[in-house]
């Protein structure tokens, strides 16, 4: 039988949201015990790579109202306004808390925290630590979490299944990567904080671990995923590798330039108005794609396709070194370009998934005992397009709230038949054991993954159309058969990364399926979903959230109303 570990709350994922949730649980109830289960050591979590900053109202010329409306408008009116209201109120408190936990924010002359401009934000409200906010936030949270002895880390444990019995989630089955043994980690509630699934696409800012694990875990238990068709292309990733060049480059005054040396966001109408480079990400990414289509992309033979230039030269070495040192390091190391002297080649790359596990404002999913927070969740803060620097704050605000609610609720939950949960984990252990070194057909993990990437790039890119989205749906269904024909060769139990890649690929396929299904069912253009056969927003028919369910027979699509409030949907222009 499998090893059984018992805790009050089980948190899956040790990034920004997971760590914040863990701390929230033990602060709410110092006697509670938390299992922090992560497939990597928490400081490797992809929160680490966020660069620009985290948004919260801080300045006298700003207001919660303005932050709220910017977010609603950025979401193309698909954000739930009650959620957004709560978010903007909590944001300054959460970031202040992070500051007191030691995050080395950059400072103003008077010693207060400095803020910078960001895309789609009316005023400077993005708190930053040069250009490594994610790194500093993650490390501050991780190091702070070490204070609490009742946060028990299970590092390098890969969760393969939620343990659900009688409509209640009572823990997870996790593979101890080092031993290759399955464990049943039981808790009265489970919080999924595993981030997004950027590795569905070929060009992404996301790291190798971003495989949509939490989304797929919930989806396979019948929990709906919401608004999955909305995926954010960050306008400025390095071509080829997809490495992120932060929006703060434009917040600090950088320009986007086409092959004719023209600052096209100011000379042509892309709907961003006077915001120019500080327009929202969906619009800027589309503008770059249109420039390339119009033949004004920069071409380098045989490499990575056409791209645009991000020009920082006019900022000068001093500003670049003091505000954007990491951008300089990345450009030199990965693009062989020094931004002080040359423009940086950039193209839109997949960055963030607005969709995720459908949760309410408390982070609770449509399954008792299951919560989600951060990019994994869709609490409907971001709607159809997230504003840069809202996501780190989201991890804190909703990570904390999910943690508080998970522990409060876990006390009055009746004990679930533990033996049944353990039996499930046991069966899962058997399944993994059978998978090790399994010979099936001639397919390989990398082969199927590359095809998946191609399908999703073609079908769910910056611009989409019905034909290509529908083709993605059918191609993905066909790819399932190829997945089943993958043969594995690593028979070792110890640190078998082939098994991990195999299970991650399954998660990627599940997530991709929900993205394509959501996309094909939304016959309008809204936020990041730019459908070329339906170029306009259609509030009459599509002002709703999409839900995708996994059922025995396949996927089921449904919708859910948007929570509106004081801001009525109007045409989104800047």
């Amino acid at each position: 039988m499998v090893d059984v570990v018992r805790h009050d709350v089980v948190i899956v994922g040790g990034g920004g949201a997971g760590l914040r949730a863990a701390i929230a649980v033990v602060e709410a109830d110092p006697t509670a015990s938390v299992a922090l289960v992560s497939k990597v050591y928490p400081m490797r979590s992809h929160t680490v790579s966020a660069e620009g900053g985290a948004a919260a109202v801080a300045r006298a010329d700003d207001s919660l109202e303005m932050h709220g409306y910017d977010t609603v408008k950025g979401s193309d009116f698909l954000g739930d306004q009650d959620v957004i209201q709560y978010f903007v109120e909590e944001a300054p408190k959460e970031l202040s808390q992070l500051e007191r936990w030691g995050c080395p924010f950059s400072r103003n002359e008077d010693g207060t925290v400095s803020t910078r401009a960001f895309g789609g934000m009316t005023t400077k409200r993005t708190w930053y630590a040069t250009d490594k906010i994610g790194f500093h936030m993650l490390h501050a949270l991780f190091q702070t979490s070490m204070k609490y002895d009742n946060i028990v880390r299970l590092d390098e444990h890969f969760v393969t299944k939620l343990l659900v019995e009688d409509g209640q989630c009572g823990g997870v089955a996790a593979l101890d990567v080092r031993t290759g043994e399955m464990k049943a980690i039981l808790g009265r509630s489970v919080i999924l904080c595993t981030g997004g699934g950027g590795k569905v696409w070929p060009f992404t800012t996301n790291g190798n671990i971003k495989t949509g694990d939490g989304m797929a875990l919930a989806y396979r238990e019948g929990v709906p995923l919401k608004d999955m068709e909305f995926v954010q292309y960050h306008p400025t990733g390095l071509p080829g590798t997809g490495i992120l060049i932060t929006e703060a480059t434009r917040g600090e005054g950088g320009y986007l330039i086409n092959s004719e040396g023209e600052r096209f966001l100011t000379t042509r109408d892309y709907g961003v108005g006077t915001k120019a480079e500080l327009g929202p990400r969906d619009m800027i990414s589309r503008a770059i794609m249109l420039e390339v289509r119009a033949g004004r992309g920069i071409k380098v033979p045989g490499k990575v396709g056409e791209y645009a230039h991000l020009d920082l030269r006019h900022l000068g070495e001093e500003i670049i070194d003091s505000r954007l040192p990491f951008v300089r390091e990345l450009s030199r190391t990965y693009a062989n370009v020094d931004p002080v002297h040359e423009p940086i080649p950039i193209r839109p790359v997949l960055h963030y998934m607005m969709g995720g596990v459908d949760v309410d404002i408390d982070g609770k999913a449509n399954l008792d005992g299951l919560y989600a927070a951060g990019e994994t969740a869709c609490v409907s803060l971001n709607g159809a397009n997230r504003l840069g620097s809202n996501s780190l704050t989201e991890c804190l605000v909703f990570g904390a709230r999910a943690g508080q609610h998970a522990i409060a609720q876990s006390k009055d939950t009746s004990e679930i038949a533990e033996s049944k949960l353990v039996a499930q984990a046991d069966a899962e252990g058997g399944r993994i054991a059978d998978l090790r070194g399994k010979k099936a057909g001639s397919e390989t993990i990398s082969g199927v993954r590359e095809t998946l990437n191609d399908i999703m790039e073609e079908g769910t890119g910056v611009y989409r159309d019905q034909t290509r989205m529908a083709k993605a749906v059918t191609d993905l269904a066909a790819l399932r058969a190829r997945y089943d024909a993958i043969s594995l060769s690593d028979t070792s139990k110890v640190f078998n990364t082939e098994i991990l890649a195999m299970m991650e690929l399954r998660n990627l396929l599940d997530v991709a399926e929900t993205v394509a299904t959501g996309a094909v069912n939304r016959k309008e253009s809204r936020g990041a979903h730019a459908c070329e056969d339906f170029p306009d927003r259609d509030d009459e028919n599509y002002l709703h959230h999409s839900l995708v369910y996994r059922e025995e027979s396949g996927t089921r699509f449904d919708t859910k109303p948007v929570t509106l409030g004081k801001w009525e949907p109007v045409l989104r222009s800047y």
């Binding site: 101890d176 080092r178 031993t179 110890v494």
Partner: protein, 147 residues
Amino acid sequence: MSELRPRLDAMRPSKPGSTRTADPRPPDQFPGKGNYFGYIAFGLGSSVMLLVSMNLLRSIWALMEGEAAFRALMDSFGHPLYVLFHTIAFAWLVWVALRFFSLFPKTQPFRMGPFQRPADGVLVGGLYAIFAGATVVVSAILAGAIF
């Protein structure tokens, strides 16, 4: 050279790990090659200093015993082996001093009271100046120009 190994428990967790591990290797090229050579040579510099200091003590001792004893000792220093030793010791210790200078600036706090730590070059330059000044003074004393 016999195989050099780190202590097997160098980075081992307090509780044994859940699977069998292979023993750690020492840092590559340790201790003879690459950057480690400088480190080891710097450390061994203290032995050289010890030997030189012992000779210095012997000289003082000889002085206490009178001029004849001191002269005898001084004459013995003319032996080629002693000349070789002092040449090597001189070069070695000058090098130790210079390595010390180059490693000195970052050992200092970034701020001292209201003052920022001077640029590395300024600190190293200062040490060189002190070194040069001391050399001049000592040389002058030895040459009998002062005192």
